[in-house]
Symmetry: C2
Subunit: 350 residues, 2 copies
């Protein structure tokens, strides 16, 4: 249990973040339901009375608080620890949906929750210690080391190939194209979010980092990556079913983020083979739990699995960084979601 | 990765054992199928031509080799390591059934396999080092320490209550009664198997342990526990569906065995909190994987879960120490199994 004080802060922030984000989906959905009852017009059929519903706004604020906590967590703990724990918001959401919305969890869904928790505990136990960072210039040095530049170069090249070659040809038939672009950009944006978060943390501690152009450069990278990510996540969700997109996106995004963090921050350098192996196993377990929760969420309704064929997405709102609980809410979402093309498919940034 | 040389031997033996046992079910089933084709009489309808089928005997021998390897593994590595790895035979059996018998594995079944493997790796990484034992008298001292005597006392008391109070009243309606008796006795028999195995190992190394009455006492305990276990496992399988009995038995048996081993051999004494926690999580993951494999094994055929209602068991043969792969073989087992009441429900001992 080598949790440093900083790691512990990051861990608590990540857990709080998951709790808030998981809860926010439930509150928002309750708000939407209530708005539909009061107005008699369901949001999916053109109404946006939900904007007058305080509960919906409470949900929105809960989510923003959760996203901010997640952002701050990256300033304290390694991405290898924070990113996989995003899956816990799924559990919070699934359990609350069962308790409050009476959307009964399947037995295998409960097993999925247990696995996400067991995997998360293993990851937390073996998380690497974060080296203390004194200045944004240290992060800059890590970001410009040859190994990480090679990673960034490959990511950009892959994104270009996906955007200009594959997206026009098979973007609407192969779910991996759009989600791949999002995940690749996502790994870069988490790294720059970590840089910006650490800079702000240091600035608040009295060591002003805003005087360095590097800080502003990282902010620019965050902005570019986030816009690209948002754009292609929208496309993915518009083209494919949320139940298909979410686990694939979570898997690819988390894997690439861990890879980027291991290259840039050398998270695994001081660790024993056993610890690294345990972390990877813990991550595989969390992934399996996530996939299982998604696969079994509609088991009561349809006995067979939902097909991977394109369908109208039912996403109420999608998070740029996945592990969101929203996808677990059952299909009547489709009837209470805001009107397509107006303010639907809003993206919360972190 | 603190695997000692002895632990490594035990680990390899446990893996070999799982491979042999998992394979044996497939070979035996092929033998039964072939016997049914040749004779025109299916074993389930009264034929026992399968005894003339060499393939069936090959399967039987494969299983015995596997069981012996499992027995020897206990002499080298702690029960905390050997027992949960029994789940790997399920994977071997499921994968071979998919490849050879063309009993297609469900996607969630594959996930279950991945989880069993990930959980096993975590358990292996964090397995406690086995203290070298020089004489059966050391084991005797461990077995007669107050904490372990208290455990044995509680187990015997519980077994008595279950056998004389609950079994006549609700043994045929509550699956936990018979499986509970088996699991409680099972934890004692593994401990005595470990004592006997270690004694034999020492004897082969030249330090004769057969001169001590303690060795013979442990052998007597093995015999008594095994007979009781066999008897009640038969009753459980005769009363309830294998798909219900197996995961419950595996869970209770493995948990109680680990508990007994931790009390008797003080497996966790030299270990950090993180290692113990990782082991427990790894064990939970293996359990979840096992449950999932069982829950999804009939998904292609019947969309809903199989009910827990009593039904005629389809077990070709049941192992006393669970984690067997056999329960994964699909239902046409019922048609090719040996005749009920004649030589069905044979029990392999280890």
């Amino acid at each position: 249990m080598g949790l440093s004080k900083e790691n512990l802060k990051g861990l608590i922030l990540a857990l709080v973040s998951s709790a808030f984000i998981g809860t926010s989906f439930i509150i928002k959905k309750q708000g939407l339901r209530r708005a539909a009852v009061i107005s008699g017009v369901r949001a999916g059929f053109g109404g946006y009375y939900y904007l007058l519903e305080p509960l919906w706004w409470v949900g929105m604020i809960t989510m923003i608080v959760g996203e901010v906590a997640n952002f701050v967590a990256y300033a304290f703990a390694p991405a290898v620890l924070v990113t996989p724990l995003g899956a816990l918001s799924i559990i919070v959401s699934a359990v609350l949906a069962d308790l409050i919305l009476k959307e009964k969890l399947h037995n295998l869904g409960i097993l999925g929750c247990i696995m996400c928790i067991a995997g998360s505990i293993i990851i937390v136990i073996h998380a690497p210690k974060e080296q203390p960072i004194e200045s944004v210039l240290e992060i800059w040095n890590m970001a410009t080391q040859p190994a990480f530049l090679a990673y960034v170069g490959s990511v950009i090249a892959l994104v270009f190939i996906l955007v200009f070659h594959f997206a026009p040809r098979c973007g609407h038939t192969n779910v991996l194209i759009f989600t791949g672009i999002c995940s690749l950009m996502g790994s870069l944006s988490v790294m720059s979010v970590k840089a910006v978060g650490t800079s702000l943390k240091l600035t608040f501690e009295g060591k002003n980092q805003l005087i360095y152009p590097e800080t502003w450069f990282f902010m620019l990278v965050v902005a570019i990556c986030v816009v690209l990510q948002m754009n292609y996540l929208n496309k993915a969700l518009d083209t494919f079913n949320t139940a298909i997109v979410s686990p694939i996106y979570y898997t690819m995004f988390t894997t690439l983020t861990i890879l980027a963090s291991v290259i840039m921050f050398k998270d695994w350098d001081g660790q024993s083979g056993g610890s690294i192996m345990s972390e990877i196993c813990g991550f595989v377990v969390v992934l399996s739990g996530t996939v299982m929760l998604h696969a079994t969420k509609d088991f009561e309704r349809s006995p067979s699995f939902r097909s991977g064929a394109p369908s109208s997405p039912s996403s109420l709102s999608a998070r740029l960084y996945p592990g969101n609980g929203e996808v677990l809410l059952k299909q009547d979402e489709e009837n209470v979601s805001p009107p397509e093309g107006m303010c639907s498919r809003r993206q919360e940034l972190y």
